[in-house]
């Protein structure tokens, strides 16, 4: 396989190879798409036991400076000023046109320090974008820092042995901790729909931390393939597929990610890039929106497949699709005309020219099991 000469490796690269990881180029990194067990088993293992994901390719960024909350609010439609220290929020970096430049998780570390985790494929543009709009703040990109996600039904049992107090964290909260003398920042979050944790670690300690986690019988490495099927079942968007600069957060059906205080009539309304477009869409709706689908039969319907109505008219497209190992059925998400977006609406997706029946379904398709206290 010919690789781009500047392809990067995360600090865990050799661990993936040793675990049988099938390494593929992904967002400029060589990443494991699966290990020897395969996507199906990895997916089920994560749901039932504990999956360990290397997400060190994602961008870890610190934004620091007096008034950072207010300044960052120009770039994201969320209420950062009310975010408690060690609390985190999902957000979108909006464009002036009301599209989405990236989606991210923002954690407040101190009054004036925010920790951002952004998508690997967007991180350079994101950093440039943040620097451009926040020229007077310290923007630090932690290029080599490790990030591990420990996800699944039994993740809390692992944490009970390592950092029992981490199990008191509720979903979307974090804190500094020490695991066997290793300083880490742990949050109760993830991208699988399961309860779990994300652990940010200094590169010097990253391998030792992985050793500690992998010593548990319940913990197995999980690759990008299962990461994708897990998040699809959980109804979570994948940036660049289910959402991009051509889609607004309203079209992407993530209005919930826009804080009430930033909406029309809120105490801190507007004031973010693209607010005019996005707030108008909240008020009067959009012509299309993102929905989930259940697919008849066993043939997966994949990204790019056209969605047609009874008359055969194209009414949308699939943006993510595959086989859901937990549901043991093909599942998908995509955009359709809003009048066809009600749960239960029956449509067809064209797979190799043949119409396959699909039904608009409530997301998440597999119930999320976050720990909310």
């Amino acid at each position: 396989m010919a690789l781009e000469p500047d392809i990067r490796k995360t600090i865990f690269h050799d661990y993936h190879v040793a675990a049988g990881g099938k390494m593929v180029p992904f967002a400029g990194y060589l990443m494991p798409v699966q290990y020897s067990e395969g996507i199906m088993q990895e997916h089920l293992h994560c749901r039932d036991r504990v999956g360990l994901f290397d997400v060190s390719h994602m961008g870890q960024i610190i934004v620091k400076g007096e008034g950072a909350a207010e300044a960052l609010e120009k770039l994201v439609p969320v209420d950062l000023q009310s975010l408690a220290i060690n609390q985190q929020t999902y957000a979108t970096l909006t464009s002036e046109q009301g599209g989405v430049l990236d989606d991210l998780i923002i954690t407040r570390w101190t009054e004036d320090t925010f920790f951002l985790v952004v998508n690997a494929g967007c991180k350079e543009q994101d950093i440039a974008h943040i620097r451009k709009h926040l020229p007077n703040f310290d923007i630090t990109y932690l290029a080599d820092r490790g990030l591990l996600a420990l996800q699944g039904l039994q993740a809390k049992d692992v944490m009970a042995e390592l950092v029992p107090e981490a199990n008191t964290l509720v979903f979307m909260n974090g804190g500094h901790a020490s695991i066997d003398g290793i300083d880490v920042y742990i949050t109760r979050s993830g991208y699988t729909g399961e309860d779990g944790f994300e652990i940010s670690v200094d590169p010097a300690d990253a391998l030792a931390l992985a050793d500690i986690l992998l010593a548990f019988d319940s913990v197995n490495w999980i690759g990008l393939g299962a990461r994708d099927s897990l998040r699809l079942e959980a109804g979570l968007c994948l940036y660049g597929h289910d959402m991009d600069q051509q889609t607004s957060p309203v079209e992407a059906s993530i209005i919930w990610s826009i804080s009430k205080s930033r909406r029309t009539g809120g105490v801190n309304q507007g004031g973010f890039l693209g607010a005019d477009v996005i707030l108008a869409q909240i008020a009067s709706g959009t012509a299309r929106k993102r929905v989930g689908f259940l697919v008849d039969g066993r043939a997966p319907v994949r990204e790019g497949a056209e969605i047609v109505d009874e008359a055969g008219t194209v009414v949308g497209a699939i943006t993510s699709g595959g086989f859901g190992p937990t549901l043991q059925a093909p599942i998908a998400m995509g955009y359709v005309s809003t009048e066809l977006s009600a749960v239960g609406t029956q449509l067809h997706a064209l797979v190799r020219g043949k119409p396959r029946p699909i039904t608009v379904a409530k997301m998440p398709l597999v119930p999320q099991r976050y720990f909310r206290g």
Partner: protein, 125 residues
């Protein structure tokens, strides 16, 4: 005893008389990963070399199987429709895909022998 021959597209053919049984190789199933759906040709369908004969969908991707021979589909392995994972567990035996009644005498030397196929795989991931 009859031996299977192989194509560069990772199919195997077992030829007995004028009937070729066709499937995919162990290497192909490893590359595909967990197979979740198999679409087989209609018995009676006439296929020429290169025609799309079947589709294999895995959790990861869709793969098309093109006919390596000219002929008429005689029979398909219906077990695969209910148990597509047979393609993973036994691709070169119980996981056979379809049988074709050959339109012309087949020159099996145009395909790879098992030894040649194993050499062909060297260096492929």
């Amino acid at each position: 005893m009859n031996e299977a021959v192989y194509t560069e597209d990772h199919e195997w053919l077992m030829v007995e008389g004028n009937v070729a049984t066709i499937g995919v190789t162990e290497f192909a199933q490893e590359q595909l990963g967990d197979v979740v759906f198999v679409e087989l040709p209609e018995p009676g369908a006439e296929l020429s070399v290169g025609d799309e004969a079947a589709v294999i969908e895995s959790v990861k991707a869709a793969g098309e199987i093109n006919s390596p021979v000219n002929g008429t589909v005689l029979e398909t392995n219906e077990t695969l429709v209910e148990s597509p994972d047979l393609l993973n567990s036994a691709p070169q035996t119980d996981g056979w895909m379809f049988k074709i009644s050959l339109a012309d005498d087949l020159d099996t030397s145009a395909f790879m022998t098992d030894d040649e196929y194993q050499k062909f795989l060297v260096g492929k991931d």
